[in-house]
Symmetry: C2
Subunit: 492 residues, 2 copies
């Protein structure tokens, strides 16, 4: 194989890198912090993107495309936003190269082609989009404006990890404009639920919906809603965010509308996004020491069929049967590949499809043909079973649903087992370090305490869950009065 | 309306801009030469992209994603390529902004965050992709590698036009690797045919397939195949290109493979692309003085239904009938919108859907309901007809096909009428300036003559058609012997 994976128990972080690289999802690139998304990884992203796109359209959104570059002065217009992103901006300063007069065959930046105003490669598009909305919105009849963009963005991160934190990443960013505050908040919440629906029902990954504390809010937002998932190493991962931006961007870019009451008012805004980071979450949540485990509903390939034969005569018989099975599976909308490559042995193929996390593997040989069965192996539990060829498509279709559900249940059981209530600072530290997961603790509501906890134990408040029960208590760190528990965790 | 369009006869160029802007396809942005693709324009691009993507996958290609940035030194590696693109590169030189100490609230580029090596925003991805292929290709078993990427690219153009020539544009770029020269040439030709199939059968736009002369070749290619279309003003437009790159990039990036014969050999390459420029071609080929004309197979909206009524009672009756019709149309996969907005009159809606080029408009009022008919207006010919409600979906379905075919036939008749054979230089100039279109003339095969013609009359050789008949003659410009006619034209 040459595909030895580091076990989770040995080095979780290396295990993750091994999976991404050897599973064919992505590769490092020559550009610092940027990755190449390889065909298998991109097929996964396409399935995720297409499903999300469908859900966005079903909730009334349309797609558009805005420029990659943001003039520096635009970024300055919303103060909090500028501060939040200034430190990680790739800056275009020139628009031309020329031959190096002192070094044949080399190129240098042409000093005469300096831009009057630098352009920022978008770290997010609020600024460029709200500058456009200014021309598009005049009256309440132009609202709501419900636009989404699929795009690449660049944030110059100092420490990068494949998918989880890359300098360039792919994402979607919704940017909506509304006549009222209530409607904008409703939109931000609606999209949070869409994200949760997608991550839970397609990625088989349970999430906690909540709001961020002021410390963890998006730069320029009044409220940041989020979904938080738990990885197998007990660390949390923010899987998606949805922001209520108030009138901050409307004021920064002077976007007003004539209301039904004939008054000029500032527009209310939201933005929301998920990115290729979700692929990192998917890998870390479900995979095991043998490789990736893909949830059937978004798997690039759902079923792999491997023939077992000796000689061309047996092969021809197997081929004919597989052809039948493939047709039946495809008719049910199941994606299937027949791997009859002759340069590797079946055992190698089995390991390869395990590594790639293909949900179901079917093996079929001479004996199976005689017995009118096939061997079906499911990736999640690694169980193998002999299954009648008759009605095989119905069986596989149901099996894929079972696997999807099983992955979700498994992740949910782990997650629920890793939400621990603590009432003392000692307990807090112990649970955080020994058990991991979410630590549910009272907090006094101040940024100061939050900062100190972060500094001391590297845990942050992941969220204040929606519909969080009120409960009197004392802050686990400061001892000051608290009205509710919040969820802390170490996080990606 | 406030939507007065400049007629084609008055100012073709202004007519085009009016259509793009008022038809809601795109808008200028605050970033020089970059446009915003608005929702209607983006929906059109999505339909085009999805169909092309399907055709790429059916021909065995997979998608992947490579970094936005190309290190300057990579661009230098293939000499011709570097020369071709150096003059239009957006260059990232810094990775951080900081607060301006002398100007509160302003940001400046942090001089301490200067990159050791400048990064070029990709003008095309051969360099970054072939650098990755080096690690992916070892043996003939890894070939062919058939990868496509959907991405944004940036070329710093001095004169820009919405869709036709923008600093940033969206495109796809296929980059394939092969074991033999023959296979690579076959791939480049195959993709040219895929492009022609798409442009002709979905965009309803006839094209001439050919190869470029050395002067007009892609920077780094040994052969550039192209499809050329003709616009209504008699100018040609290059709608897509496919390049045979030989071993140039394999040599520049040292990509070798172990052949079946156990020898280390350089890999053979192709690249091919089409872009949002196609939208410009679509607009200019089919539209008229009343607005856009969308070919049904890629129209963002195929049918608009407008109710004609007085009072809520009539409205309710019309609504019920429309509901029935909508269901029938949707069941046939036809995209349809019922526009019962009450703030504008039917006449305004008619003009709006004409402007947007919706292929079919249905109007329905009280009288129509009594007579069991609807009024059907087709956008291409502007004919209106009273059509029985019975089997309306079948009728509309067929009508959409008729419109698609009619648009193609119309464009084909115009194109065929605008290929003019000339045998003298006087005739050449006269046809070029007075009639326009393709001028079919003998050429002596030298770049020198080509350059002189371009300088003198601004016409270029658009292509040497595939399967061009050999014919002895003398060059229309130099009088030197020639073995074939080639197609000249003024071009976008």
């Amino acid at each position: 194989m040459g595909n030895e994976l580091t076990p989770r128990a040995t080095d979780y972080s290396q295990w993750y890198n091994d999976l991404v690289l050897k599973g064919g999802l992505a590769d490092y690139s020559a550009v610092r912090g940027c990755m190449v998304i390889k065909p298998y990884g991109f097929a996964l992203w396409e399935n995720m993107r297409d499903q999300l796109d469908k859900m966005f359209k079903e909730t009334g959104h349309v797609n558009a495309y805005f420029p990659l570059f943001v003039p520096k002065s635009f970024l300055e217009k919303e103060e909090g936003h500028a501060e939040g992103f200034a430190k990680e901006c790739a800056v275009v300063t020139h628009y031309r190269l020329k031959s190096d007069p002192n070094n044949k065959g080399k190129l240098i930046v042409d000093p005469e082609a300096k831009l009057d105003e630098e352009l920022i490669v978008r770290p997010t598009s609020e600024a460029i989009i709200w500058n456009a909305y200014k021309d598009w919105i005049q009256s309440y009849r132009d609202l709501p404006l419900l636009i989404n963009q699929w795009a690449n963005v660049v944030r110059w991160e100092m420490r990068t990890r494949l998918f989880l934190r890359t300098t360039e990443f792919l994402w979607q960013e919704g940017h909506t404009a509304h006549a009222t505050s209530e409607e904008a908040i409703g939109e931000a919440e609606k999209m949070l639920h869409v994200y949760a629906d997608f991550v839970e029902n397609y990625m088989a990954l349970p999430v906690i919906k909540g709001v961020k504390t002021a410390n963890e809010r998006f730069a320029g937002a009044l409220e940041t809603y989020c979904i938080e998932a738990l990885m197998q190493d007990g660390k949390a991962l923010q899987a998606g965010t949805s922001h209520f931006l108030g009138q901050n961007f409307a004021k920064a870019f002077d976007v007003k509308f004539l209301s039904k009451e004939n008054k000029q008012e500032y527009v209310w805004a939201t933005s929301w996004g998920v990115s290729t980071r979700l692929i990192g979450a998917l890998v870390m949540a479900h995979s095991d020491d043998e490789g990736l485990v893909m949830p059937p509903r978004i798997a690039p390939l759902q079923v792999a069929i491997v023939p077992i034969y000796k000689g061309p005569e047996q092969k021809a018989i197997v081929d004919a049967k597989v052809d039948e099975i493939m047709k039946a599976l495809k008719a049910k909308g199941i994606s299937v590949k027949y791997d009859d490559s002759d340069n590797v042995r079946p055992g190698w193929k089995f390991a390869e499809y395990e590594l790639k996390g293909v949900p179901v593997r079917i093996a079929i040989g001479q004996k199976d043909i005689e017995n009118k069965v096939v061997e079906v192996a499911r990736r999640d539990t690694k169980e193998k079973q002999s299954v009648p060829q008759e009605n095989i498509a119905e069986y596989i279709s149901q099996l894929l649903e079972d696997i999807q559900q099983n992955l979700y249940n498994r992740a949910l059981a782990y997650r629920d087992d890793h939400i621990t209530k603590v009432d003392t600072w000692e307990e807090f530290k112990q649970v955080l370090h020994e058990k991991g997961g979410f630590v549910s603790a009272h907090w006094d509501g101040t940024s100061e305490t939050e900062d100190k906890i972060k500094e001391e134990v590297k845990a942050t408040i992941r969220c204040i869950p929606l519909d969080n029960p009120k409960e009197d208590g004392v802050c686990v760190y400061s001892g000051k009065p608290s009205t509710q528990r919040v969820l802390f965790a170490a996080a990606y």
